[in-house]
């Protein structure tokens, strides 16, 4: 039969530390109580061990129920044992107001009503008949009565220590190249990856903070496209990022922190078209980013503006969808393909010679944002040259210049 040991301490941390030494099942009752569950057989040994390490202002109580132990610890000086099966008798003389120490909400009106009835102690409350009590005060009073008898009304809530997903390492000597740093990063990430696996979480972002020789700090934060748990994938992304942006001085210390999130569940369908593997895609994007730069990579988003070439790039995050139902799939053959404009960025200053022009359309006036500094006005022309090239030109009336915007293809 389990026994419960309640430890009282004004500071919760030493009580938690003491409890975790003696039992894996620990329940925290902030701000000043800790409960640990032990077996009846172990009770004398653990009791004597805790008493040896007990220092003021710690107090100790042992009982067969959590409720009795938590209430009894208030009476301990410095320790008290409630015999097995005697919890109700032990709690009987205690006032009803003591139930508030357990976090049980007691309305003032209820206390007044019980007081009017002459019920002042837990023992008196425990002896009242159930049915008549419920008839007068409602079904909620039953839990209160059970608690007054020393019975547990809630489940044991084990204390889960907070797991840190950070690693810090001070170096004995300065590192000037990335290779030895990669070796250290790999081992630190492996430890963090193990913790992520144990807790069933994945990394959403990785922060690397390097302490440099010249006193400055090098900080990089990698946001991952998908939550990743594999430490090798995270390591390769971090390595690629460091290669593209190496620190400017020798490294004397490092701090690595990972932000944990629940992993994303990705379920493939049987008839779904091929989609990129999320972890592989993240590595691919990192390699592309190292090659062409972050600013030249992503999915384009057309802006809601009439400004020519109005778009922005957003990070590419692909989530495959199942193929639409056959009946609803739009026919691809109804409309003609669209002639596409291949743009020059920036537009090329041009000089148009009429002798080379075969045909033209225009001008088409385009303007906008006249109320802002970024306003524009231009006259657009589509011109077919004798060599067959079809281009879009525009005349800028402010600069009084022609520009070649793009070529149709």
């Amino acid at each position: 039969m389990p026994r419960f040991v309640a430890v009282f301490s004004k500071d919760l941390a030493p009580a938690l530390a003491l409890a975790q030494v003696h039992s894996p099942r620990v329940e925290a009752h902030p701000p000043d109580r800790v409960l640990l569950e032990i077996s009846e057989r172990e009770e004398p040994r653990i009791y004597s061990q805790i008493l040896k390490t007990l220092k003021q202002p710690l107090r100790l109580a042992v009982a067969s129920t959590r409720t009795a132990a938590l209430l009894a610890v208030n009476q301990a000086d410095p320790a008290i044992i409630v015999p097995c099966g005697k919890e109700r008798e032990f709690l009987a003389p205690l006032p009803i107001q003591m139930l508030s120490l357990l976090g049980v909400p007691i309305k003032r009106e209820l206390l007044i009503t019980l007081g009017n009835w002459g019920v002042q102690t837990l023992g008196e409350l425990a002896e009242l008949p159930d049915k008549e009590l419920v008839a007068r005060l409602g079904p909620g009073i039953l839990d209160l009565q059970k608690t007054a008898r020393g019975e547990d009304c809630s489940l044991f809530q084990p204390f889960i220590p907070e797991i840190s997903f950070e690693e810090t390492q001070e170096l004995d000597f300065t590192l000037f190249t990335l290779e030895p740093l990669n070796f250290i990063l790999g081992s630190l990430l492996e430890r963090i990856g193990d913790r992520l696996s144990e807790t069933g979480q994945a990394a959403e972002s990785v922060c690397l903070d390097l302490k440099l020789e010249d006193g400055s700090r090098y900080h990089r934060k990698l946001r991952l496209a998908y939550p990743i748990r594999d430490s090798k994938v995270i390591f390769s992304l971090l390595r690629l990022d460091l290669q593209s942006r190496p620190p400017t001085a020798g490294i004397v210390g490092l701090h690595l922190k990972v932000c944990p999130v629940p992993p994303r569940v990705f379920q493939h369908a049987l008839f779904q078209p091929t989609v990129p593997n999320p972890e592989k895609l993240t590595r691919t994007l990192a390699r592309l980013s190292a090659l062409v730069g972050e600013d030249n990579l992503g999915s384009p988003v057309v802006l809601d503006t009439y400004r020519p070439d109005g778009y922005r790039l957003q990070p590419f995050a692909f989530e495959g969808k199942q193929e639409t139902e056959r009946a609803k799939a739009p026919s691809p053959f109804k409309a003609l393909p669209l002639l596409v404009l291949r743009r020059f960025r920036p537009p090329v200053p041009a000089r148009v010679q009429k002798t080379e022009i075969a045909a033209w359309t225009g001008p088409w006036r385009s303007s906008g944002e006249w109320w802002m500094e970024s306003s524009w006005t231009r006259d657009e022309w589509d011109i077919e040259f004798k060599n067959g090239t079809i281009c879009r030109f525009y005349w800028n009336p402010e600069d009084r210049k022609w520009f070649l915007e793009g070529i149709y293809d």
């Binding site: 990129p276 090659l291 062409v292 359309t361």
Partner: protein, 244 residues
């Protein structure tokens, strides 16, 4: 009795709304499973379904011949199927507005801008080819200029680069489409098509005309002819690309 039930079930399926959702198992082995539809019916008929997957296809031709329009049409079809697309843009000439109008779902498209560097474009093409999972990889090596450096540089790319790209996608369901002014990949490409412009048509109030008339101020469409230069099949087809 059993046969009557089967016939009755077939009749019910034909007439009910389930008809569009129920299909035979043989339909799973559709001919176009290994092919990427071009989005243009006449070209799909010519190519027996579309561009081959797991192979390198070259789209060549002079500027303003409609090859980018053909590329966008194939990409739009692929995004409608829910596939991811990688667009490696060597000379930063991709126009998102045109792409959206062509029916491309831009959320499924990864645009890699290589800042006018052919080497970077080839390296990026190699990276995405080996990543896997992309339905279409478009390698746009066409310069926007009528006589730009690309026309000379593409021909100087060594053969092993194309072979490496081809080997990276072989056996996968990825279609690698290469856009160049002229054929450059040699025997690494399974299919080489060349496009040539035919005729610009004009829009009038009474319809489309082939020659400009007084009062008509709009281009309507560009006639294009596609010819298969190298491939398992031969032939040519003509189609039109409309102006935006």
């Amino acid at each position: 009795m059993g046969e009557e039930r089967v016939n009755m079930s077939r009749a019910v399926l034909k007439t009910s709304a389930l008809a569009a959702r129920v299909f035979k198992g043989a339909a799973l082995q559709k001919k176009d499973r290994g092919l990427l539809s071009t989005g243009i019916e006449i070209l799909d008929s010519l190519l027996n379904g579309g561009f081959p997957r797991g192979q390198l296809t070259e789209l060549t031709g002079p500027i303003s011949s409609g090859k980018t329009a053909l590329l966008f049409s194939a990409i739009a079809r692929a995004t409608q199927r829910g596939e991811a697309i990688a667009y490696v843009d060597a000379f930063n000439s991709f126009d998102p507005v045109s792409a959206a109008k062509a029916g491309i779902d831009l959320k499924r498209l990864l645009w890699v801008r290589c800042q006018s560097s052919l080497e970077r474009a080839l390296q990026a093409g190699d990276i995405v080819s080996r990543a896997g999972g992309f339905g279409v990889i478009a390698l746009d090596l066409e310069t926007a200029g009528p006589t730009g450096p690309a026309a000379r540089s593409v021909g100087t790319i060594s053969y092993h680069c194309w072979l490496r790209l081809q080997q990276a996608i072989e056996g996968t369901s990825t279609a690698l489409l290469l856009l160049t002014p002229e054929a450059a990949a040699g025997s690494s490409s399974t299919l080489v098509v060349t496009l040539s412009r035919q005729q610009v048509c004009w829009q009038t109030s009474s319809g489309m005309v082939k020659h400009p008339v007084p009062g008509c101020r709009l281009f309507h469409s560009l006639g294009t002819e596609l010819r298969i230069v190298r491939g398992k099949i031969n032939g040519h087809a003509a189609f039109c690309c409309r102006f935006q």
